[in-house]
Symmetry: C2
Subunit: 343 residues, 2 copies
């Protein structure tokens, strides 16, 4: 019989369909094929003149927009949100609208067009994450932005249009609904227990062990108890911290090393699946403090983490109609496969 599981953070129920539990080789995986867009693509070295001017780069020389970069951050040429202007929020009968103000940046992780997530050299991936952190810190100084999402789309099924390895940053003028819900829950827990909900969850997962995939002194990755998707994972810093942007360079090197291990396990078990990963961060504290201190306990009651979502199964009407999910692979099974895999 299947089981209904409740996620204590998002407050969603998930159906873990144990009877039809799918093994790694039973998914029809749309593998991210390197691509019709043979290099050079717009993100390859030498193509700098065709992109918007860079916002940040790691390079050996000192000439901006020269081709000697190792990591490069540029504005998206066709941003979903525009950086200039006022929000101009207004009603329209029952509805609300604002101008699409925000930021949309591309972090080019490496000059090499064809590297898959698990193939990035350790210090290269660390440099890309450090560049992303630097951009996030800068963006979040802007009080118009309530949230900034760092994420990666890998493979067409995961929404990528170009193969070249990139991360994306989108800064939004509203706190996203799903983040607000998570924050609400974790605050309620903190008020009740005077402990961080996520710290409690990490402790329980480590003690239980059945869903842990990889653990070291600083980070732990486990399959969440109420995972929505097969092989869904969460990466947590073991020490409490509410903002990814508070991470030092050395912390980020450790994170990069940990994540590469996890990507490697996913590749071993699932054979290079398409995936999304995203940093779940506390909302922009700067902004919130200015709004009357409502989020003043934020640093205690939120705990940043990373979600990794391999994209193995399509969503169907049931998911869209109810907002709850059917997971055909028990998180304990997924964790066992990944734990036993070579990195």
């Amino acid at each position: 019989m299947s089981e209904l599981r409740h996620d204590p953070v998002s407050r969603r129920w998930v159906i873990v369909a144990a009877e039809r539990s799918l093994r790694p080789n039973e998914f029809q995986i749309a593998r991210p094929v390197p691509p019709n867009d043979e290099p050079p693509c717009p993100f390859c070295p030498g193509q700098e003149a065709g992109t918007p001017k860079e916002l940040y780069a790691v390079r050996d020389g000192d000439k901006a927009n020269a081709p000697d970069w190792r990591v490069r951050v540029i504005p998206n040429k066709r941003p979903v949100l525009a950086i200039e202007g006022t929000l101009d929020r207004r009603g329209l009968g029952l509805y609300d609208r604002m101008r699409g103000i925000g930021a949309h940046e591309i972090v080019i992780e490496t000059p090499q067009h064809k590297l898959r997530p698990f193939e990035l050299p350790h210090l290269q991936f660390a440099a890309a994450l450090t560049a992303a952190r630097t951009r996030l810190v800068d963006l979040l100084k802007d009080s118009r932005f309530k949230y900034a999402l760092l994420h990666k789309n890998y493979g067409q099924t995961a929404g990528a249009t170009i193969f070249h390895p990139t991360q994306q940053i989108v800064a939004t003028p509203v706190t996203p609904f799903s983040v607000a819900t998570k924050l609400q829950t974790s605050r309620a827990h903190f008020h009740l227990k005077e402990r961080c909900l996520f710290c409690d969850m990490i402790a329980q997962e480590i003690e239980d062990g059945s869903r842990v995939v990889q653990i070291d002194e600083h980070f732990v990755t486990f399959a969440p108890y109420a995972a929505r998707f097969p092989f869904e994972l969460q990466v947590y810093p073991r020490q409490h911290a509410h903002q990814f942007t508070g991470m030092g360079d050395r912390d980020i090197e450790r994170l990069a090393s940990h994540m590469l291990g996890v990507f490697s396990r996913l590749n071993t078990v699932l054979g290079d699946p398409p995936l999304n990963w995203m940093v779940v961060n506390a909302p922009n504290t700067e902004t919130q403090f200015r709004r009357g201190g409502y989020w003043s306990t934020l640093e205690y009651d939120f705990h940043w983490h990373i979600e990794i979502l391999p994209r193995l199964t399509p969503l169907a009407g049931f998911e869209w109609g109810t907002g709850f999910y059917i997971n055909p692979t028990a998180p304990e099974d997924a964790a066992a496969f990944l734990r036993d895999a070579a990195t």
Copy 2:
């Protein structure tokens, strides 16, 4: 510049990216190809012995499980939730679990294997919807079930595994999160205004007209103001009603005719796109009344409707990370294309 729009029901923000507005011919649509599973499939007439025994059928003769049916409802052979047993809800440290109790039924819409949604004859589709309503009424007598979702998956991208035209019913022992949110909002509106939020929205949409796709005396279909997806549509009964299950046979015939018109327009404009549709219903009143009358005003403050979601674009990390959506086609543009299309 793009626009941020707020949906008054789900309380989500959507980015309507007007500058990169995609026209119907610009989507890479994974068309539902009729299929490797050439008839007969398990749902075709003559294959009744291979399926679970039918729960309901419309047929000329009177022998159950004979091949002369016109519509047939069977339990799913591999249900995600099982009908027998108690919920046995319990904690597990921070987590909550229940046994996977519920119902999972298949409504076979027609004996004809290869009919696409817009090709179903009017009275055939009406008979299928009527059969579904009859099953919903029956299932909702069971006080273990808080919600029952009627939905359709059409095409692999939309989660269908067999081409034969079916609808699905899933009854769940909890009120789904997304339904609870919608209900919360519409109740707040009712308490404030003593009017139904949905009735207000319908009135505003009809008066404005720019997002209306199809309208007749009884039903209206429009592209919602904060549509998450290109060509997303909602179908509403114009007269207030909180439960789809309260619909009479004649109402359902009218609904079938209206929906076929909309499917036809989608086919004309997008060329047979994969899609999901689902009935958004009030939670199970029977159950709720027994729980102390909390939902006692349900019949005034909820308004059932149908969501139609063509599946044209993949979800990316931004959507997963924030729960808000980027819609590359303005709902007004989508509505204009569909309104002008032949049915």
